[in-house]
Symmetry: C2
Subunit: 98 residues, 2 copies
């Protein structure tokens, strides 16, 4: 591979990553909207926000779908961050009564 070919390959990879990231952010926001809906239902039914058994199910579902190359530990850490951010937003919404 010449340097020029390598740089073109890098530019192509980066375009593909930017396109994937746009899809990721769209799905993450779709997921957040559903989490907010869950928050409203839980508030109406007076249920707790944090349900560790449900979070376990989320991890099981995600790891069952993980075919790599990301390792299970990496996937778990990424979803811990996603779940944590959405739980914080749910808490905020419930406190604000939105």
């Amino acid at each position: 591979m010449t340097k020029q070919q390598g740089l073109e390959a890098l530019a192509d990879c980066r375009r593909r990553i930017d396109a994937l990231d746009a899809r990721l952010i769209e799905i993450l926001n779709e997921r957040t909207a559903i989490v907010e809906q869950i928050g409203r239902v839980k508030r109406d039914l007076d249920l707790p926000i944090y349900e560790p058994r449900r979070e376990d199910q989320v991890y099981l579902n995600v790891l069952a779908h993980n075919q790599g190359p990301l390792g299970h530990d990496a996937v778990r850490r990424i979803f811990e961050r996603i779940i944590d951010e959405m739980r914080q937003l749910q808490r905020l919404r419930m406190t604000n009564g939105q």
Copy 2:
């Protein structure tokens, strides 16, 4: 909303979240495969793995696509985790010469 209706709404929300998570993990792995490809090109061209200017571009792209309800800070923290996990994998692959 009756308790029964609420519980059904929750179950429906959770099915939708599980489906979105399956898509998220698929896209994350697709992204990882491209990051690995970038790692191979960089190794061939003897370029550094960590390029802060490119990471800035990644955040700019993601935030430009963020239409909420996730806040920019939350999005940034989620992508910091994603990028960090993939950088670690890239490092590992380069060290192992894969």
